[in-house]
């Protein structure tokens, strides 16, 4: 049984008089501990699919099965309980965390919701989660607005890990970071995957990142998946027009 099975996912927006498909009959699966990348040009519906899969917006049609449970059939309280298994990290670390909260509170919130730990146990979990994302546990008392973008993205990852999810949706999670920080975060994500066997749904427009991170890749164009395959094959030999365009547009760096 796949960890996540999405089928027929459809979402249309009304823009003036016309209906625009942000997701058009999208189907894919993700296996446990796997990384599936979703690539596509901007406006192809990547972020919409991230938010549909995590049930932050309501699809017009389709099913989302997580570990065999249909997320669309759950009552609100059951869905909230289920959310601990499925986490999301957003693109802009400056917008994704409540600027008034402290680092510790941001990471502790999912523990309060999804575990029965005592206050002391939660504190020590927060410290170990901060260590896991290579941050100083002393940061826990600092407010979010005082720490840097790279640090905030690590906090967002620690928060996503807090409820021990089986799948994390990374919605352009490294795109807003500068190059050196990006490489560190990617390595961190890989290490976390080795340690916890969490699966990633990795949404990006950067094929270099796909090659480095993903097992398989799906290419999105105009809300439709036009190509899927092993990451190594799609990146080296894309079949779809948009896949070819993305590969052609990717900057090539001399190998060091």
């Amino acid at each position: 049984m796949p960890l996540l099975a999405v089928s027929g996912l459809t979402k249309r927006y009304r823009r003036g008089d016309t209906l625009v498909s942000a997701a058009d009959d999208v189907s894919f699966t993700i296996e446990p501990a796997e990384t599936l990348a979703l690539v596509g040009p901007s406006g192809s519906g990547k972020s919409t699919i991230a938010r549909l899969v995590t049930r932050l917006i309501e699809p017009d049609a389709g099913t989302i099965l997580l570990e065999g449970t249909n997320l669309r059939a759950l009552k609100p309280s059951a869905l909230r309980a289920m959310r601990g298994r499925l986490q999301i990290v957003f693109q802009d670390p400056l917008a994704a965390l409540n600027p008034r909260a402290t680092v510790g509170r941001v990471i502790e919130d999912p523990l309060k919701i999804h575990t029965r730990f005592s206050r002391g146990e939660r504190r020590s979990r927060v410290a170990s989660l901060l260590e896991r994302v290579r941050l100083d546990p002393a940061l826990a008392s600092r407010p979010i607005h005082e720490i840097s973008g790279g640090q905030r993205q690590r906090v967002a990852i620690a928060r996503a890990l807090a409820s021990s999810p089986t799948l994390i949706v990374l919605d352009e999670a490294v795109s807003a970071l500068d190059v050196s920080v990006r490489a560190e975060i990617l390595q961190l994500l890989k290490r976390i995957q080795r340690e916890t066997r969490v699966a990633y749904f990795f949404i990006t427009h950067d094929l270099g990142v796909v090659r480095a991170m993903a097992d398989r890749v799906a290419v999105l164009d105009g809300g439709r998946i036009v190509e899927t395959g092993l990451a190594s094959e799609v990146v080296s030999n894309p079949q779809s027009e948009i896949g070819k365009a993305l590969v052609a547009a990717a900057p090539r760096l001399p190998r060091s």
Binding site: M82, G84, N98, P99, R100, D109, I113, A156
Partner: protein
């Protein structure tokens, strides 16, 4: 501190500080009951060093009454403003965050309250329930919570689309908890900016209610003092003018201080 750098803010806070100090120290400055007779009736101001502002028609010390009255004015002003901001931001947050039919209902109720003049509302409420300090506070808040409600709703509408609110939903936080812990605190600054206007209006409304005899009868109020002086306005105008000046100074202080806070926060926003 940037807050005290502008002369308006400095003056405003100086007035408020002096008033608050006087109000707090009233029982020490004038330990005797301010309603007890202190000297001959209708002594004009600046005649007797022990009764610098003179006495009213029952021979009560006007300065003592004024100082004790400051307690009521400031207490009612602050309490009414706090009550209306609390009610307003809760209503505005629920309307803006939950949306849909609840938003419609809450905003139409807000409209209804807003169309009735706040003073009439307070007047009606106090006449029905009977004058006492908490009733007066609530009656004033009844007419003042709609402004904060509208501002809070507008702010919440923009904040609820932010990623960190989506993030709170993604970890499974309860919607009410998201509304009051993630959204409301970030929506508060523009709502609090209204507080100076509300405090000033509340002080005046309290005075007006007392003037009409609907204040708490067990407390000295400036409005009540003005009302008492009204009957002998021709030959003892100072009895109404002195508490009137105190009212003007209080409202002025609150306004200037509020103005200073808004200016300081605007300056901080520009720098950020």
């Amino acid at each position: 501190m940037t807050l005290l750098r502008t002369p308006t803010a400095l003056l405003g806070f100086a007035i408020l500080f002096a008033l608050a100090l006087v109000a707090l120290l009233a029982p020490l400055l004038f330990p005797a009951d301010p309603l007890s007779i202190a000297g001959p009736a209708l002594l004009r101001p600046f005649q007797d060093a022990s009764l610098p502002l003179g006495t009213d028609r029952l021979g009560r010390d006007v300065l003592a009454e004024l100082v004790h009255g400051a307690r009521t004015s400031l207490l009612v002003g602050l309490a009414a403003a706090a009550t209306s901001i609390i009610i307003g931001s809760v209503v505005g947050t629920l309307a803006g965050f939950l949306g849909g039919i609840l938003d419609e209902v809450l905003m139409r109720v807000t409209d209804a309250f807003q169309t009735v003049p706040g003073f009439l509302l307070a007047l009606a409420f106090v006449s029905v329930v009977g004058p006492s300090l908490p009733v007066v506070v609530f009656a004033i808040a009844l007419g003042a919570w709609t402004g904060p409600a509208r501002v809070a709703r507008a702010e919440v509408l923009s904040i609820r689309e932010r990623d960190y609110v989506a993030g709170a939903r993604a970890i499974g936080m309860h919607p009410l908890k998201i509304a009051f812990r993630e959204v409301l605190p970030n929506a508060l600054p523009p709502v609090l900016a209204l507080s100076s206007v509300i405090v000033a209006a509340a002080v005046l409304t309290e005075a007006a209610l007392s003037f009409l005899g609907l204040g708490d009868p067990n407390r000295i109020t400036w409005g009540g003092m003005i009302a008492e002086g009204r009957t002998i306005l021709r030959f003892a105008p100072y009895l109404s003018i002195i508490p009137g000046i105190a009212l003007v100074l209080t409202v002025l202080g609150v306004y200037l201080a509020g103005e200073g806070v808004v200016e300081a926060s605007a300056a901080r926003k520009v720098r950020a």
